[in-house]
Amino acid sequence: MPGGQERALRRRIRSIQSTKKITRAMELIAASQIVRSLTRMTANRPYREGMARIVVEAAKGDPAAAQKLLGEPSERQAVVVVSIVADRGLAGAYNASTLRATERLVADLSARGIAVRLFTVGKKAPSYFRFRHQEVERSFQGMSERPSWADARSVAAAVSAPFLAGEVQQVLLVSTRYRSAGSQFVETHQLLPLPEPGHAAVADVGSVAAPGEAGAATGSSRAGESQAGEHGSGTAPAGDLASGGYTEFEPDVETLLSRLAPRAVESEIFTAMLEGAASFFTAQQRAMAAASENADELVRTLTRIMNRARQDAITTEIMEIVGGAEALRQSKGA
């Protein structure tokens, strides 16, 4: 029945248009949240760099004491893996790519006979891992969109505890890094022991490519660059700064470093959460913009189909009338 088809199409178009209103609104909200996240990232940067400088300084002050808390672990029997994703979806591949990278890292470590204890941030993580029968030791929720310093502290305390108690030899962090509006990528960082100054913080295992964006190689080399950049203020001027070597420490370096390490981890996690939030909103904005565009496209196509259906209906009707008239005339003539 021709009229029925037209009505069905009209209803579909209306439904797509109202979906588009929602995706458009989400796109705009995400855009404003990006700005807010970026402001917070910028505000966090001086603290993070200051923290890196102090750790470098302390490590230079007493390399022997630093050995325990810095560098690569000599052997790994157990490892803590921390994965940071979002509470909500509708953000393209943001959650999926980080979770996939985490899963691969966990599989890789397990294959080497290393026990893995998994901690996650974000509501999307536990359901993903439950489905894959991967146990999550502890999951933090409700903080991924606007992470506060207190949130970062509680996460840091939980993930550092096994390391400080000597139960694991390494703590790894998998999260999405925000480089620019056009480039975010998943990266694996070593949280504990603290990465050796001057070395890239990117762990040797499981650097992963984000879909369609910067690959693993770009990811690692970027971290190298940024490290070099950070130390531009720390290590590089040491020659003319001449403070390296006779810096005083109160209390002694070993005590200081053991107290400083948890603070450094807090700072790293906070930064990762902020960058994760910024990446989330960027991904969400992109996904919602694509969805709105697709809705436009669908409406266009469906309108065309609907018009043709209406035209067909009209044509059929005319044919019927003409046919009827013809039949009448013939019967009259006969």
Binding site: Y47, R53, I54, A242, S243, Y246, F249, E250, L256, E266
Partner: protein, 178 residues
């Protein structure tokens, strides 16, 4: 930059609290009170919770409540804009606020709340302590469960005590600072 002044920044994870040219920074580390002047020897130290005073090159001293942190003093050539010997001081604190920004009424309320909480937890712990002593001969599995409970309680108590300490520091700094 005027003579005898140096760059001071006070940083928290969420903001840069202060960035000025100063003549002196007065604070307390775990080894005792400390005043940093221009040309101070390079130093890395912890900062115990309490008042930190920064004397800017111009204007009135700035008081801050710092809830624990770390201080780095860098002195050497080529720091800052000039080629000459210069000092740069960086104070990193998880939480810190300017004395002028402290809400005394709120801090007062927070102190009362924290005090009540600490007392409540201490009392509960006292009871739990004697309880564990009495039931000391209980099964091993049971003891494990209790142990965990005590750890969680300890954490809560530590948190409440930290909150109380923060409120005290705030009130102390706000009282004499402004």
């Amino acid at each position: 930059m005027p003579d005898g002044a140096f760059e001071v920044s006070v940083l928290t994870p969420e903001s840069q609290l202060l960035h000025v040219d100063a003549r002196a920074v007065v604070l307390r580390s775990s080894d005792g009170d400390l005043t940093v002047l221009n040309g101070h020897t390079p130093l890395v130290t912890d900062v115990v919770p309490g008042r930190v005073r920064v004397d800017p090159a111009e204007g009135d001293p700035v008081h801050m409540a710092v809830h624990g942190g770390y201080l780095q003093v860098e002195t050497g050539l080529g720091l800052g804009a000039s080629e000459a010997r210069a000092t740069r001081v960086t104070l990193l604190a998880g939480t810190a606020e300017l004395a002028s920004q402290i809400d005394v009424a709120r801090a007062e309320r927070a102190r009362a709340e924290a005090e009540a909480r600490v007392e409540e937890l201490r009392a509960a712990q006292g009871r739990a302590g004697t309880g564990t002593g009495g039931a000391g001969a209980g099964g091993a599995g049971h003891a494990g469960g209790e142990g965990e409970g005590v750890v969680a309680e300890d954490l809560e108590l530590a948190e409440a005590e930290a909150a109380l300490e923060r409120a005290r520091v705030r009130l102390e700094v706000a009282g004499a600072g402004s």
